[in-house]
């Protein structure tokens, strides 16, 4: 036992030394990421969960830390913000910033009121290094053998300035070679098979692990990718996608970008804009997130941006995500043991509970709906309604009003009111349930009595 402990300690200190050395060399080592996150998890177990989304090609864990007030709610019951860094293995600056952001949140909690509010109303998911194999090799690309020149063999001409395969070209098929930012389906076409895009969209273990996590967490409404090759604030579409984003969504992107533009003169532009660094112009990951997940996707350039500017910026744009609140509850006795209950709910965030991009695509009419076909065989963006209902303890009963009221989306500042007529003995505690995959879930107790009661709800309760 002792020997093992000593060995582990040795490895730990070894990693520390490597980490310090790597700071000077401008690279980041996967060990540094895992050590930092494990330490966060040890220091603040009530605020953090560290999990691995899967393994890279070289079997390195893809570590993710999620941060929220775990003791008070489930992480998926809060709107989520996903922060990604290290999409390219050699982007050490972004990895460090993601780690610093996670650390800064933990340190500022609970003394900093904004951070306290953020972690009580939202969940942050931070994945500091998506390409650990590339990081270790000092390369932007993954390490899984890939046939970049599509000649039928992979990695046959590595970067040694020699023509290893006697084809008249040098270094045209280096070791590994997928740029994970380009490995997403936006605008996928056969021409992309040459170059660093990968053999098909989401082909790599790293990109698949990320994609599956995002798909399985529909509460994520804001996706932030950090990149180190510039300082522009970028948003979809990239050059891979033709067309323009929804104007409603564009307005939110613009508002989000304001502090970056004012404080460090960031250009705000679409990924395909001339201002965008070459590395980001075809960043299909952001297009994919925006088009498919009902989340906004932003690409935040951090080159030469001071830490004291960027950390509050990341914290503040997280507040754009929606926040459902019960704004008032009115309980009015209308007869003996019969009450009229009116609940008002409102979205206090700056985004709707669904991006404009994910609305629309109404269900198709059946081709010939007579009896023999299903009503709805067409596809659409997965709908993410806000559902509101009452949980009535026996013997209370619903006399009128919706069993389950659905709102396709709640827009910023939009208030909705729902009315029920309920029969219940005095003193019954009814719970109001609000559930939205993207806007969060709220349970709100309502107790009824014979005296008229109007109550203004200050915020959500558990």
């Amino acid at each position: 036992m002792k020997a093992i402990a000593k060995n582990q300690r040795g490895r730990y200190f070894g990693a520390r030394i490597l980490a310090i050395l790597s700071m000077f060399a401008g690279v980041i080592l996967p060990e540094e990421v895992s050590q930092t996150l494990q330490k966060l998890a040890r220091d603040k177990p009530d605020l953090t969960r560290v999990i691995s989304l899967g393994k890279s090609f070289q079997e390195k864990d893809l570590w993710l830390v999620s941060i929220t007030e775990y003791e008070k709610h489930r992480s998926e019951d809060r709107p989520g913000i996903f922060l990604l860094a290290g999409l390219r293995g050699n982007d050490a600056e972004s990895v460090r910033l993601a780690l610093s952001f996670a650390q800064s949140l933990i340190q500022a909690y609970p003394s900093d009121e904004k951070v306290k509010e953020l972690l009580s109303t939202r969940t942050l998911y931070i994945l500091p290094l998506l390409n650990p194999d590339g990081a270790e090799a000092g390369s932007a690309y993954t390490r899984r053998p890939f046939d970049e020149d599509r000649d039928g063999t992979a990695d046959e001409d590595p970067g040694d300035e020699k023509d290893n395969d006697d084809d008249g070209k040098t270094d045209e098929d280096d070791t590994g070679g997928v740029d994970l930012a380009l490995n997403f389906p936006a605008g996928w076409k056969p021409e992309l098979l040459k170059g660093h895009n990968g053999p098909f969209p989401v082909s790599e273990p790293e990109s698949k692990a990320l994609a599956d996590f995002l798909v399985e967490h529909p509460n994520i409404l804001l996706f932030i990718n950090l990149y180190g090759t510039g300082n522009a604030f970028l948003y979809p579409y990239s050059k891979r996608t033709t067309g323009k984003i929804e104007p409603e969504d564009a307005r939110i992107y613009e508002e989000m970008a304001k502090p970056a533009v004012e404080k460090w003169k960031a250009k705000k532009a679409t990924l395909s804009d001339d201002f965008a660094p070459e590395s980001e112009k075809e960043n299909s990951l952001l297009d994919w997130v925006y088009q498919n997940l009902g989340a906004l996707a932003v690409d935040v350039g951090i080159k030469d941006v001071p830490l004291e500017e960027i950390l509050p910026f990341l914290r503040d744009i997280s507040f754009f995500t929606p926040l459902l609140q019960v704004t008032s509850i009115t309980v009015l006795p209308v007869a003996k043991n019969i009450y009229r209950i009116e609940a008002k709910i409102q979205n206090k965030g700056k985004m709707a509970t669904l991006t404009k991009s994910a609305e629309g695509n109404p269900p198709k009419q059946p081709a010939n709906g007579f009896g023999e076909e299903y009503e709805n065989r067409g596809g659409q963006n997965p709908r993410r309604p806000v559902a509101v209902w009452l949980n009535l303890p026996s013997p209370a009963a619903l006399l009128a009003g919706p069993q389950r009221k659905l709102f396709p989306a709640l827009h910023p500042e939009e208030e909705q009111s729902i009315t029920w007529i309920v029969e219940a003995p005095p003193g019954t505690v009814i719970s109001l349930q609000i559930q939205s995959a993207k806007g969060g879930s709220i349970t709100y107790p309502i107790s009824v009595s014979q005296t008229a009661e109007r109550k203004s709800a200050g915020g959500e309760k558990e």
Binding site: F200, N292, G379, N381
Partner: protein, 559 residues
């Protein structure tokens, strides 16, 4: 006695080793059993293996059929055949299995089959949507369902998944339709009392239709509006895939284990030169692309497709040949678009079977639809001798009260009763094998060695494509995804001084280089090319002609 019986049993087992019944639908377990038999009966030529697991954890099986004595199976042009990617479209599996049986049972006796099996490789994935097939036979299922896989999915957009599925209320193994007498209902019976149509403006209604058999599980007043699953696997492939879950194509291409297994299988077999993905129904020979018009598709490829498709009508005279997008409807993210647009492989989908009707039944014209229904019912009454439709019968529904249950059985409109499978199996098999017959097949046709001076030789090689298809489609060549054919020279004691293509008549080497490997581009169908190596040295010299989709050929010289 026992020994004799054992011997007889052995003989019996040997002959019964791999018997395909062409009048039967095979369940998943029966398919696996049959494949095991094929492997046992033909251990040299058949390999049976799994390529992945479905969402529910069932194995997805693949078969390689090839004669290893005539060459490495990976180095022969290959035909890929799959079926049942839509869970309810089951008979593609039977066609794939029949093809396997047809080739194996006729090998050695039928010259055509023997030559095909000796020179090609055949890959089969008989069931792609294995979970769907299982539910189709075990129920609850209809002719149209389950089409997708079983990834939980919120069909009705109420924030809940899979909360209101089908129920076989009367326990007859079929999910029928429900109707209730209601003079304020929108429907009435017409020419045939079994078929409902909408009432005319000045008529009273008689019936209200409640769609499929089942109960309202979630109390929203609707029946079966959110059954189990899923994503449409034939909308989940890259190339032409649309975002926003268009046509239930999923969040990203190849997100589903079933499609990912198939795609990785195809990608890891670059020798695949033709793809047939069987579906039902409609009697159609559909070709790629399915996600776009032919604009931008090379004329040479369209000619090739048309030539095959039109020949297809000799095998399948009742089938229509068409470009999927233009002829049928847009389908984004299909197997055939992955095959053709992504890999440059000639790819077809045959839509097996239809009950013939004289009318165009697509579109929203109710009258035409009802007229077609009547025709189908008449056909089923006569040809299927009343086996395909369950006449309406009274039933007491727990929520609706007195209703009637009736309608098409699952084996009816899209999959015929099993004794009618005959009509599907042979002609589709022969058509698909015809595609394989056209495959490219490269050959070192002749080699001439001239000694220029001592230990300096000029080796002239004539290479041909004996097949009718090019070694890569024009699309693959234009998009830069075709892997060029090449010829390589190897010898322990030789040095290449110069190499390259030569003029067919003058023998002039137009752009000489000094590589051991000459890229030939992609040989067209029935094309010949001449090339030469100028080498110094002596001894055994090996020539290797490599075409990823057109096969390999090699020869050895002694200098």
């Amino acid at each position: 006695m026992i020994r004799k019986m054992g011997y007889a049993l052995f003989i019996f087992a040997f002959f019964m080793g791999f018997q395909f019944n062409p009048e039967k639908y095979y369940t998943y377990d029966e398919v696996v059993n049959l494949l095991r038999q094929a492997e046992k009966a033909y251990p040299q030529m058949v390999q049976v293996y799994t390529i992945g697991k479905s969402l529910k954890g069932k194995d997805i099986w693949a078969i390689t059929l090839s004669n290893p004595k005539t060459g490495n199976p990976d180095r022969k042009p290959a035909l890929y055949i799959d079926g049942n990617i839509h869970g309810n479209e089951v008979q593609g599996t039977e066609v794939a299995l029949y093809t396997l049986w047809y080739l194996l049972s006729r090998y050695g006796q039928d010259k055509y089959v023997t030559q095909l099996v000796d020179t090609r490789t055949f890959y089969f994935v008989p069931i792609v949507n294995v979970d769907g097939r299982e539910v189709f036979f075990k129920g609850p299922s209809t002719a149209d369902d389950p089409r997708e896989n079983f990834r939980p999915y919120d069909d009705d957009g109420d924030g809940l998944v899979d909360e209101d599925g089908l129920e076989d209320l009367d326990g007859d193994g079929e999910i029928l339709m429900m109707r209730k007498k209601d003079e304020y209902g929108p429907m009435k019976t017409g020419a045939d009392p079994r078929i409902l149509s909408f009432r005319a403006l000045d008529e009273k209604g008689e019936w209200r239709s409640y769609w499929t058999e089942g109960i309202d599980n979630d109390g929203d007043g609707k029946f079966n509006e959110d059954p189990a699953g899923g994503y449409d696997l034939n909308r989940n492939f890259p190339y032409g895939w649309r975002p926003g879950n268009a046509d239930r194509g999923g969040f990203y291409p190849l997100s589903e284990p079933e499609t990912r297994s198939v795609a990785l299988f195809i990608l890891s077999h670059p020798n695949i030169a033709g793809i047939m993905s069987y579906h039902n129904a409609g009697n159609m020979i559909l070709r790629a692309p399915s996600s776009q018009r032919d604009t931008g598709i090379p004329r040479e490829d369209i000619r090739l497709y048309d030539s095959i498709g039109n020949a297809g009508r000799l095998f399948l005279p009742d089938y229509q040949y068409m470009q999927t997008f233009e002829g049928l409807y847009p389908a984004y993210g299909t197997t055939i678009d992955f095959g053709y647009l992504g890999e440059g492989v000639i790819s077809f989908t045959n839509e097996l079977f239809t009950i013939p009707t004289s009318r165009e039944e697509t579109g929203s014209n109710w009258d035409r639809w009802i007229a077609a229904s009547l025709e189908r019912l008449k056909y089923a009454d006569k040809v299927f001798h009343g086996e395909a439709f369950v006449d309406w019968k009274p039933f007491h529904h727990p929520q609706l009260g007195d209703i009637e249950l009736g309608g098409w059985k699952k084996i009816s409109r899209r999959t015929p009763p099993p004794e009618f499978l005959h009509e599907i199996l042979l002609p589709n098999t022969l058509f698909t094998l015809y595609i394989a017959r056209l495959f490219p097949q490269v050959q070192i046709h002749s080699v001439q060695v001239k000694e220029i001076q001592e230990e300096i030789y000029r080796i002239e090689v004539e290479v041909t494509n004996e097949g009718f298809m090019p070694t890569a489609t024009k699309w693959a060549q234009e998009k830069g995804i075709a892997i060029p054919d090449r010829i390589e020279i190897e010898g322990e004691h030789i040095t290449v001084l110069s190499s390259g293509e030569i003029h067919e008549i003058t023998g002039e080497m137009q752009s000489p280089e000094a590589h051991k490997r000459i890229s030939l581009g992609n040989l067209n169908g029935r094309e010949r090319k001449k090339l030469a190596f100028l080498v110094s040295g002596w001894g055994k010299t090996h020539l290797k002609l490599i075409s990823v989709k057109g096969g390999w050929d090699e020869t050895t010289l002694e200098l």
